[in-house]
Structures are given as structure tokens and as C-alpha cells.
Amino acid sequence: MVALLVGVGLFMRTVTASLSVEVIGLTHEDNPRWWADRPVNNQTSTACAECHEATTEVTTAFAHASVNCDSCHGAAREHIDLARSGQQAPLALADARDLCTTCHTGLDSRPQDFPQVDPATHGAPASGVTTSCTSCHNPHDPGFPPVFKHTLEGRQDCLVCHGPEQWQPLPPSHADRTGDSCIECHRPGDGT
């Protein structure tokens, strides 16, 4: 009888251990800890501020303060780990129009007080010029009108925004310069 029990005990100790892919846990004491130790992949702007202080300051001061950096730039943990160890790991950013329209396309189901537009008719497309949302809106400070110094990239037709009937018409000082090329004075890339 005793021999039988000892035999069964040894059998269970050896065979059942090998039968189970993981070692059988009898209690749950360790399991919450396993769950609590999972890696944290999404970060808040606090983590991004470590290197990108200027951008983070802007973002957290304006309308997109509630938008996580990860929402647009992807989960940052790997990027942060690599960057901290000195390696570069640029985050892939999707097309601006795709990113922006996800939230800002006008839908019946969205609350009325949420800023939403019809992407087909909003902004420059109406004038036949293809622009990206970021042509006019700074994603980190998306208020309108854009108050940032902007490059000329993607904004070839200055008159789309600065024409006589448009959002920020030329100041009176430019009244006599309609025929000239703007880039003679406003050099591309320096935001002047």
C-alpha cells in the first residue's frame, strides 16, 4: 500500500511535470505578479519629453494635449529603449490625412461640439490644390489659423491662403507685388 502511494507520488512528480508545457502552478500567488510585470508599451508625453521637450511643451499646452503621442506616432517603448541606448529608431508616421481624418471626419455619431469637417470639401481641395492637413494645421498645436512659421513645402500656391479673399490675405504692404514671385523674398525653409 505504502509502496503504491510512493510510486504514484513519484510518478506524478516526474511525469505530470513533463506533461505540462509550463510548470503547473497550484496557487495564484505568483500569477498577478506575472501580469503586473508585463512590459508597458504605450508611453505618455512625459516619457517623450525626455528628448523632445520643445514639441511636448507645445502639444501639452494646446488642443491636442489630450492626444497621446503614441496615438499618432505608434507605441513608443521600443523607440525609447533604443534611443536611450544610443541607437536611432525613428517612429513611422502614417499619412497626415489618414491620421487626422480618423478623428476629425464629420460623422453623425460624433458629439456636435467636437471639431469635425468633411474632408472632401474642407480646406484647399476645394480650390483644386492638393494639400495635407498639416499644410495649414500644426499637428502639435492644431488651432486655426496656424500661427506657426511654416515652410513652403506642400504650399506651392501661396495665394491659396494669402490671396485677396482667403484666410490671411497679404498685408497692404504687398498691394503692389501681386505679379512677383513670393519666393524672391520668402526663402523656402527658413519660415520667414
Binding site: 506524478m12 505530470t16 506533461l19 505540462s20 508545457v21 503547473i24
Partner: protein, 414 residues
Amino acid sequence: MHGFVFPNEVEIQWSLLIVLYPFITGLVAGAFVVSSLYHVFNIKALKPVASFSLLMALSFMLVAPLPLLGHLGRPERGVLIFLTPHFTSAMAGFGYIWMFYLILLLTETWLVFRPDITHYARTTGGFKGLIYRTLTLGMTEMSEEDHRFREKMIKVLAAVGIPAAALLHGYVGFLFGAIKANPWWSTPLMPVIFLLSAIVSGIALLIVMYVVVMKLLGRPIDHVCISALGKWLLAFLVIDLTVEGLEILSMAYEAEESWDVVSQLIVQRIPVTYFGVQLLLGSLIPLVVLGAVAAQARREGAASTLIFAAAVLVIIGVFAMRWNVVIGGQMISKSMRGFTSYTPPLGGREGVLAASVLLMLPFYIFSVIVSLVPPWERPAIAEGELSPEPTEAVPAWEAADSRVRSSAWDWERQ
């Protein structure tokens, strides 16, 4: 997919194998009840199939855990149900209930066939003889005391086995019936419905197997027995239909919130298997046929053929019932606004091929067992090696006085 289903519900979780499991345990419970009807309640007409049904129950019982094991995401951890059961779960009961019932079946079968095994152990040589000698467990002779003990234990086990069979299949019904999240499953009547359809399917398969096996062996069929089985099948079928009908009528009448999706399920998603196969083919037609045969009170070839046909339909109907419960219930989305669909794959762990193999396995096991201990030949009795046994169960007070010595030679002889 129809309507709106929750994102995680694109595939149903419990597949064809889980349809198989209650079907198989149902057959076990049903066959065992027939065996116990003879051993405990002395329904003499069922004598020819009493041991036959026991072997049938055993064959199916051995296969019962296989569909479950095949379905688990981690079959190698299946043993945890025995080691670390969580007893608020009906499924945790499976391990112990199945094991207990298997031990009971094995013990009763061994006791019933012990005279035969000891006889064969003595008279057969070679490898087969070795098997018999192993089966005797070293006890190669039976004394008077052994015989008395054997009879008593068979009765005890057969009696204990009835509630145990009810538990074996009732817990499966409870497993489904206690899931409040699923409106098609959730009802307190589910254990009763499962048990009744189990008994019905067991009796039906017993009829089919008995007739087929006897025909294959060229042996005569006991029409009195078939007629009795047909009557018992009819009785349980009536009760089963009543309870199932009550359940669905009650649901339809009360028309609670979930009735919207449930009615859509049975009318639009599973009308063929529900109305066509389960109700019409599998219940109403056999009911009429069995009723007509019982009313005619004939016991010959034509009546037996009709009963056989009805039994085949009943088996198909009960399988459809298991399908409708398991698959049908899962087709209803928890959103209460849509349905998923399910077509079993042909191959793979849970495919039609695997299920067919699992269904054929008990018959193979049965053929192996009856090649060792055929229940229709009892040589130990025929050759007078055993002391005569009473063929009818006598009350204890009568046995104490005298033995009823009727002809022991025709015990189970056709």
C-alpha cells in the same frame, strides 16, 4: 454572419467534438438504464439485452473523454481537471463523475462476466488464454460465497448506477443550462431534457445494435425483447417530447427579451435541423410508429422491423438535438442582434473525419470485447460448471428458505 456579432465571436468555440460528447455519454446512460431495468427491476423481457447493453455502455464510456481531450486548447493539461478542480464549475465534475462511473461500469461488467471469464481462463490456451487469466485478476475459481456476493453486488451496482448515470449525463445538461449568458441554453430543465434524450438515444441504439449484431451472427432475434424495448423507448420518448415541448412553448409564450433572437435562430438559422430532423424525423415520426406498433401488440418480424426503423430515426434525431443545442446556442451572438455560422471542417483535430473516427471507435471496442466475452453464449452455464443460479431475483426472505431452481440452462439463451 448575419446582423451584428461582437468582434470576438467570429468563430464559435465549441465545435463538432463537443456535439459528440453529450451524444456519446447519452448513449452510455441510456444503455445502462436498460441493463439496470433488468438487474434491479427484474423486467424479464429485457433479459436478452441486459449484458449486451452493459458491454455497449462500457465501449462508449471508454471513448467518452476523447472528444473532450481533442477539443481542449491544451490537451496535455487535461489532467488538471483531476488534480486542481474548481468545484463551482460543472465541468470540474467531469473528471470524478466519469472516473467513478467508469469504475462502476468496469466492476459491474467484470462481475457479470466473471463466470465466463473463469471458464474461458480454464479452457482456452495460448495468448487468448493469457488474456482471460489476466482478466480473472488471479481469482480463477468461484465458490458459493462468490456467487452470492456477485449477485448482490451486481444488484447494488446496477441500482447505484441509475442515479450515477443520471449524474453523468445530468451534469452535462447542467453545464449548458446554467449558462445565463446564452438564452438558448439557459433553463433549469436542461439537465432533465439531456437525461431524457440520453435514455431515448441509448435504448434506440441498443435496439439497432442488437438487431444488427444478431443478424450478422445469424442468430435469432428475441421479438419479445424488441417489443419491450420499443415500449420503453416510446414511454421515454413521450416524456422527453413533453419536457422539450414545455420548454420551447414556455419560452415562446413568455416572449422575454431573448425570445427575439431565439425565435430567429430556430426559424431562420436552424429550421432544417430543428423542425425537420430533431422534431419531425427524430421524434414525431418514431412516436407515431412506436405508438402504432405498441397499440397493435404484435411481437414478430414486421413489428420489430418498424421498431428498428423508428430507433434509427430516433438516434439521428438525438444527434440533431445535440447539434441544435451546442452549435445553435453558439450561433446566437451575445449582442442579441446577430448570428454566426458554423460549418465543420473536413480534416483537422475537430473535423468531420476526426468525429467519424471517434464515433466508430466504440463499435470497434465493442467488437473486441464481445470476441472475448460474447454475451449471447454463456458456456459456464451451458456446461454445468457452475452451480445452478436462480434465474429470477428472489426476495431475501425467500432465498433464505429455498432456492428457486428453475432451469438455469436457458439463462440468456435465445
